[in-house]
Symmetry: C2
Subunit: 342 residues, 2 copies
């Protein structure tokens, strides 16, 4: 049985409507919380292949989505590079922030691949357990977004420290981005070798950049990663998700050569389609609507599928599912997709 | 002597390049900090006409900008409506958040206008002291953004509580927005009667909304305010600043009938011009660039003026100036504008 995700992304087949949802292996699931509790530390949870395999498969078991996404975190990359990374419950990630250009040269690029072996092991196990018609999505944070955390040291509204570092130290910042391009390419390539059928680059903070910086720190590094991955693995589609790209979406789509485009909640799908006629689009139900209004979930899901009819489209959210989302809302979303695609 | 701002906004005269910058009366100025210190409470500072007048005029004295913007805060509206509002240094605003529909009906709409008299007094004093060729900009927060703070109770990355309230209680939320439309219209109308030559609506959190909600909570209320202001004061131009409107900019521009459009840092001015051919555009230098890189400030300012050549354009930032901005950077920005416009 062929994979809906691949038909949509690679062959650009229309009206297949594969669905999955960002952060589908997550805290809104009681079975996830149960496993999560047994790990005091979030990253050791990510690095335990059996645990990562189990939680990756949970949403497939429950909702029969068309794709599983590897359970991991974008900050395994800084961790692999030797930067101190921790997660404090309720406060998100804390990193020892990079403050000088010198610290960038001390990142331990060579150890990264070996360090990340448990992730590749998880990918192998997941692929083995997953039904053939389901796609396994590997992923990484895009260089700009990962660099944001590495410099800011934590989540932030504006990532002002990171953006200012890029202005003040463009050469050093460029070295950091280049390093992340290399490590991320190798990381995704290994995920593919281990069994990932698709990979997605998450650029959550792309929207914070002015147009020139967007080209330099979002488009160019993404372009480099995609082009290298295409050389190594010509059959593996890449999804790029430059959140809040706004009017830069067309540039991003045209320049990066991604096969699929994640669309955030703020963008009308029809306008995204005009801006990016070649790619499969993926998105963009508001996770807060999913958490709140069961009746509108169905209306909105139908409307997205109608708006994208006749074009390659992956039903998804516009951002990660939120922890307080009721399970029956997620079920309603999945049932609606299945009902319409027949 | 005629006002450059009015020529640009109302008569759509091109290549006048008026300039001012958002939050120009602010903490980056030592003379501002000196006055600020003498008020333990931020809102009493806003409500003291002599102090508000003095700080409003400070950037004009120093930089000879083409417009002064009333020194005040968008949260005087919830304060005037009887909601508890405070400012804790370093942490921004704190409001007693609205949690139920019932609390919305208890807002004291009738007392708002009387309560805000000190603001109108400040406008009268400023207009009296300001040179005739300088425009005085009055302003208010747009209903959506003010409602965000009223429900969230503080600044936030995502304003999830506010957005979820709008989903869960659309009727009550709509009542809140309607109340804010009425109060904001009256508030801006009184500012105009007191001497404001232009008014700006700040919708800082517009970009958080999906397209349907953007239409309902950003475009419609703005449209109502603008249409009522145009009836009352047909000669007074209105600038709308829907930050991070992204692909919704054209809809916002066409539907609201604003005379000028604030453009945030993320948007290429040339694409904004295509999306909104009728309006004067205002923006969009990155405040972090202004704070960081003196050489690039000049290059970037020249480039913005070149990109907007032959169209009505107000040179400005894409967001408020940040407190650590060196004064000589601001001076370089102003000098560049003056040098080019000759």
């Amino acid at each position: 049985m062929s994979k809906r995700m691949i038909a949509c992304l690679k062959e650009k087949q229309v009206d297949h409507y594969p669905f999955w949802f960002m952060r589908q292996a997550g805290r809104y699931l009681p079975e996830y919380r149960k496993i999560r509790e047994s790990f005091p530390d979030f990253l050791s949870f990510c690095y335990t292949p059996d645990a990562a395999t189990e939680v990756t498969l949970q949403p497939i078991t429950r909702f029969d989505c068309d794709a599983a996404i590897l359970f991991s975190d974008i900050l395994v990359i800084p961790d692999a590079l030797g930067q101190e990374v921790g997660f404090t419950p309720g406060h998100g990630p804390k990193l020892r922030p990079i403050e000088t250009a010198a610290e960038i040269t001390r990142l331990e690029e060579k150890r990264a691949e070996e360090f990340l072996q448990p992730v590749f092991q998880a990918v192998r196990q997941i692929r083995k357990s997953l039904a053939e018609e389901k796609a396994l999505i590997g992923f990484a944070g895009a260089p700009w977004t990962v660099a944001c955390y590495m410099i800011e040291g934590e989540g932030s509204k504006e990532f002002a420290k990171a953006r200012q570092f890029a202005y003040r130290e463009p050469i050093a910042f460029s070295q950091l981005i280049d390093c992340l391009v290399r490590v991320t390419t190798a990381y995704l390539s290994e995920q593919i070798k281990a069994g990932a059928d698709v990979v997605q680059l998450f650029d959550s903070w792309a929207g914070l950049l002015p147009p020139d910086e967007f080209k330099r720190w979002v488009i160019e590094p993404t372009q480099q990663i995609v082009s290298q991955l295409k050389t190594l693995h010509p059959d593996i589609p890449v999804i790029g998700f430059a959140r809040c790209a706004g009017m830069m979406l067309a540039d991003y789509a045209n320049s990066t050569d991604v096969d699929g485009l994640g669309i955030d909640t703020s963008m009308p799908l029809i306008k995204a389609r005009e801006a990016a006629p070649k790619q499969a689009l993926q998105g963009n139900l508001d996770p807060l609507l999913l958490a709140t209004d069961k009746a509108r979930i169905m209306t909105q899901t139908k409307r997205m599928m109608k708006d994208m009819k006749g074009t390659p489209y992956i039903v998804n959210l516009g951002h990660g599912i939120v922890p307080h989302t009721p399970i029956d809302h997620v079920q309603a979303f999945c049932d609606t997709v299945r009902e319409i695609r027949g």
